[in-house]
Amino acid sequence: MHGGARGAPAQRAAEAAAIATGQRARVVATLIRDFGDWGLAEDCLQDAVERALRTWPRDGIPRSPAAWLTTVARRRAIDLLRRRSVERAKLAGADWLDGEEVVEVPAIEDERLRLIFTCCHPAMSLEAQVALTLRFVAGLTTAQIASAFLVSEPTMSQRLLRAKQRIATAGIPYRVPDESDLAERLDSVLGVVYLVFNAGYSAADDELAEEAIRLGRTIATLLPREAEPYGLLALMLFQHGRRGARFDADGLPVPFEEQDSARWDRAAQAEADDGVRHGIRLATRPGRYLLEAMIAGCFAVTRADVIDWSEVVALHDALAEIHPSPIGALNRAIAIGMRDGTDAGLRSLDDVPGLDGYYLVPAARADLLRRAGRAAEAAPLYAEAAALAPTDGERRFLERRATAP
């Protein structure tokens, strides 16, 4: 084995942990394929990882960490199954049962793809899909997932258990969907990842947001001919890239054009730009996430007066054609206001359907009026928006605007 006993013990332990963590999804996916039992796969993976953390710092990192973990986990699984006396029903193929040698994990990455598509199968509730994806693909602990979604650990534990049971009882197959279903199923998967990202983004939970970004990168890598994963990845990176500038010292949101672009994460934005370029090359017609990423990209400029509002409106028009939504219509109306002036914007806002009681509608109106110097008309709308605001920081920001628009 290489990677011998150089370096301080803590460093070796950290290295071992990082490498083992990086292989978790691949290994658990292989185990699920082999044994068809998610709970068993989970437990045996955990055992193998614990063994790795004990032995790798001492003996060195194996040449193929994934194969090492898989072999150890498989042996444990066989051991457990023998004790449960259900060998015939569960074991998929016995060739490697007797061999003691380390088996190479197949180079094809579709083991993780199977895992991802199955975790996000639409025959399960969205809650279940999110929980399974974070547990099995991202490798978060039940406690971490519970905390991210503001439920107790026992509640999340139950949710995961029911989800695993549902896979077995409903007969959800462990496979990558057929070509004909791929676009729709991929949309499900991306929806789960974006949901996780938004949970992180709205709670300013950088770790959760970064977990979603990692998932997005994995999916884009595993499906290199698909454009939408790059679109979603770029969208998340554009949004995440601004996290340093979004809030001021008092926790109030900073309006976009007042954000200090020096606090933007340049690496994230560069990767986002790459993602958009990649997506455009791959897409015959841009999908929802790619369009949203391109819109976000229009705002990734250092001076607000350089924003190409015509481009923003055009992209919103394209988005509305394939993925109409009230929020999309709202954002489009704002862009029209910026491109064509206050009255055009207000008229477009009138046409936005179904957002009664949503704070950003009066806020958008107020903002257009404020920019036109119509402070007296803006003030009561800011107050209305403040009353409807979902967070303390936003409420305080809007109240401040209401008193001094």
Binding site: V86, R88, A89, A123, G171, I172, P173, R175, P177
Partner: protein, 114 residues
């Protein structure tokens, strides 16, 4: 892989699709029969024709009408034999009642060989 059996309940739904599906269900039936995906299936008479049987304290109790009070009722069934749930979903989605009503897919219980 072993094929799996699903019970497919064809059920009414007061919230239908915006456009009714007027296709001929016999086309759906014939296609599946030809491919060996459908083992058997029938249309059922409406709930008014139902009889519910219970035995309580040694007494046989019969009620007319279905066991459930709900607005929705089972109007037919099919037994499917397919690769997996995805195939069952794909088949169910093509039945006219997927748009004019709803379809419930319930896998048969599988008993582990000891």
């Amino acid at each position: 892989m072993e094929p799996v059996k699903y019970m497919m309940f064809v059920v009414t739904d007061s919230n239908k699709d915006t456009e009714p599906d007027e296709s001929d269900v016999d086309l759906w039936v014939d296609d599946l029969d030809a491919r060996g995906k459908r083992l058997i299936g029938e249309v059922l008479q409406p709930p008014a024709a139902a009889t519910v049987v219970r035995v309580r304290d040694g007494q046989r109790l019969l009620t007319d009408g279905p066991f459930t009070e709900s607005k929705e009722w089972i109007c037919g069934f099919d037994i499917l034999e397919v690769e997996d749930l995805d195939e069952a979903i794909e088949i169910a989605a093509r039945h006219p009642m997927a748009r004019n009503g709803q379809i419930e897919l319930r896998p048969f219980m599988v008993w582990d060989e000891a």
